[in-house]
Structures are given as C-alpha cells and as structure tokens.
C-alpha cells in the first residue's frame, strides 16, 4: 500500500471514529445508559486519537 492510500485510510478512520464518537455521546446524553451499557466509549475516544495521530504523522512525512 502506498503512503498516499495509507494516509487516506487513516484520515477516513479518524473521521469515522470521531463522527461515531459524537453520535454515541449524543445518544448516551439523550438516553442514559443507551451506549455505555454495551460499548466502552474510552476505546472509541482513544481509537479516534490514535487514528488521527497516525494520519497527521503520515501527512507530515
């Protein structure tokens, strides 16, 4: 996989985790327990940060 494709993949992954995180937090805010009863939001938070970090480091290079 070339660097450009990897950069795009991690960009998409970052956007995906970030948007999902916003949606899940919104659902949890509206219906307490709706998300955190089944999903660990910490994982989504760290996944968003890591994918964002990888994307930025790839872009920098």
């Amino acid at each position: 996989m070339d660097k450009k494709t990897a950069e795009k993949i991690f960009h998409d992954l970052f956007v995906w985790f970030f948007v999902m995180l916003i949606i899940l937090i919104g659902l949890e805010y509206c219906f307490a327990g709706f998300v955190i009863s089944y999903i660990n939001l910490n994982f989504w938070f760290f996944a968003a940060i890591i994918s964002g970090g990888v994307y930025l480091s790839l872009k920098k290079d």
């Binding site: 996989m1 494709t5 795009k8 993949i9 998409d12 992954l13 995906w16 948007v19 999902m20 949606i23 659902l27 219906f31 307490a32 327990g33 709706f34 998300v35 955190i36 009863s37 089944y38 999903i39």
Partner: protein
Amino acid sequence: MSRLVLFRSFLIFAAVLILASLFYLNLVPAGRYFVSSDFKAANPAVSVLYPESRVNPAADGITVKEEPVYFDVRLPRKFDAARVKIYFDDLKTDVLELGIEGTPGAKNFTFAPLKNKFLDTLDWPRLSDGALVLYQRDNLYGRLDDFFRHLPPPNQIAAYRAPFSYNYKIPGYAAGKWPREIQTDFLGSFKFYTYLKDEPLDFKFTFKSPEAWPAISVRVFSGDKLAVSRDYVDIPAGAELAHERTFYLYQKNLPEGVYRVAIAAPPEIIVSKIITPARYLSFIGPLRFSPDSGPKNILTSARRLYAKNWDELSAMLVADGKGHRLKIPEQRYDIEMATMAYVLKPLWFDHGIELDGDGLFAFDWLSFFDPVIQNFNPAVAQAGTVNYLLTGYQGTSRTDGSEVGAAVFDLTNVSPSANRKIRFVLSLPGFQSAENGVKIKKAEIEFTGDRVGWGWIKNKFSEIFKRFL
C-alpha cells in the same frame, strides 16, 4: 472498485451495523433481559454493593458487615417483572430480605424474603401454588383454593411478604341508619377502618383550631387503591378562627368492603367529634388525645400497648381490667396487657395521652371490627392466636456450594431514575454487629416485559401521536 471505496463502504456499513445493534440491544425485542454480577467490580448494567464502608471484599464473595446495602441495575427499557436470584453463604441472621425501591430516592422499598430460618424450621403443614405458601397449624385445608374460598377470620391469619389481599366481607351486614356522635378529641392526623355496603360514605368531622386553619386532607383507600380524595383548603382566615368547623365527607356508590380513612392534619388541630351512620369504626394507632379531653373509655384488641404522656400533668391509665392505675410518663411506656388473647379489652384514662399497640381501637363494643391481617413474626406463631400463615417465601436451594434465594418483583409500579437505574436493597432484619453479616457471592436478575412486535410498535406510535395532538 478501488480499495479506498471498498474501505469507505465497509466503514459506512460498520457504522450502520453498530447503531442498529445498539438500538436492537436497547429495545430488547424478545422481552427478556438478563444481567448478573459478582459485585467485585461495577459493570455497565449492575453496580457494586454500596455504601462501600459496609462491605468487605473476600476471596469468594463480598462480606456484608453492616446493613442495609444497596445495588443499582440499569435497564435498557421498561419491564414488567424482575426475577432475582441472590447467591449467598454464611448467613448469621435469621432473615435475609431483598427490596426494590418504588420511586427514585424515596426509600419506599417493597421487600421479598430470600431466606427465613424460622419458616425453614416451622413444622406446620405446608401448601404451595408456586407463588404463595400457606402454613396451617391444623391441617384443615387440602388445597390453597379451598382456603381462599372459605377464608377464616382475619385475626387467625398472619402474612409475611405475601402477595395476598384479604377480601373481607361481614356476612349479614345491614347498613347503619341513624347517625351517632363520637367524642374523639384527637390531635392532628388519625386513621380508621370502616365498612360499607349499600350505603354512602358519610362522615362529619368537627375540627377545632386554636390559631389558624391549615390544609386538611382526607384520603379513603380500598385495599391499596385510593377510592376518595378530599382536600379542605378553602377555609377563610380571620374572624372565624376561634370557631369550630365541620367538614363533610360524602361519597355515594362505593362497592361493598372495608375502607381505610386517613385524615392528615397538623398536630395543633383538634378533631373533637365525628358524626356518622357507619356501623363499624375501628381506629388505627397511634391515637393522640388532646390534653384538654376529659376522662375516656375506649377499647382495644392490642396485646401490647404503648402509651405516652403529653404534658406535665400526670396521666393515669387503667389497662389491666382490674382497676390498677398506671402512671404514664412522658417517654414511651410499654404495657403488656393482662390477657394475651385476641379479645377486646377496656381502657380508661383521665386525660390526653398517646396510645398505640399491635391491635385496633374502638369507642364502643358494637362498632369494633378487625379486618387486618397481622404481620408475621415468630412471636405471633408461638402466641397461639394465629393458625394460618401466608407467605411468598418459597425456601432456598443450593447451587455450587452457595445458598440461592429467589424473589420476584412486580415492576409496573417501579419508576427508574433519570439515568434508567432501579435500586435494590439487601436487608438483614435482626442484624446487630459485623459478626451477624452474610457473604454475597452473586446476583442474577432476569427482567421480563412486552415482546416487541407490530402491536407494540403501533401502541408506541399512538402514544407519541396522542402526546403531540
């Protein structure tokens, strides 16, 4: 299709799948939701046992060293019933009970027994239909149906955490025709039972107030259901304050049965008299008689009486039927009645005291009736007055070296908190010190409710439309 497009499609598909499965999990379409916990760490559905100062973690469970302890369960949606299994060991008290809170923060717990050592060793013959157990001193009834078809008098029945309401009927009852006057001289709130059949609920209460007329409310219950509700708030202030006021409580077309009337008034209000044609009036303790009331004769079915004086004047009470006068102090004074039998005993006192006891009170022999089923305790069984014991307690079983107590709760009247949690309490009646505790190993809870089908969806939509239209 490029690899990137494929990857983006996968992300969209995954997002839809995750959100759809979240909705599915929260909807619980099958109507069954199961959670469990060993209380060692909180999980998203079940909390740990708290307050944490009352528990000690042990290798094979959590030791409860002070009671009560609570735990919360988060519900994805509303359910109708909860079947709870508690795995425990080393129970040092005689009783272990589990309660569920009706309203968040209100501590209005409904309790169910998990273990009762006294009932485990009670050698009375036992009948069970799976939900209700009947113990009978003499083996008179062969089936539970027979018992409910030919109920014995209520004073022979005791109930312990039993889903049972006694449909009390007085055979050959004829409605009272002529109103009579009872000089009550009660201070503040009081409660009584009355019986109605083909007659209206008809009471006139005469209230006296030394200073102001605050709100007075009257609630009439048939079993646990509110039948009549009145609030007397439109009382004019000013010149009329010193006068007596009469309030009417009148309601036609009530079905035959026992009614519990509860009058809530501040303690400065005196209820000087009651005028009613009702034949039966049995008062529920505590009764507070005004210090200004003169000597009074009343009757009680209590076997243990509690009396308290109101003011510096010493009050005298004759409660033993032999004319011996007891001086009642200001603190609570416990009196064991001369006869432990469940019969009416006369009481006389010279001026206002507070009376309470394990029975009812009446102002004359003819108006007394007792529709109350006693709460069970070991003394009730040993005293010999109770011949039947109804309970929801089914006994325990043993699994994997633990004792397992089960309880079923009706959730239709349980409101979850804003974050959709319901609260359970583990109680150890008779607990005295940390050596009396219990080791809790595990809880398994199965919630059941409506299945989600087209009917359920239609109902939800019609509810939403009704709310907006």
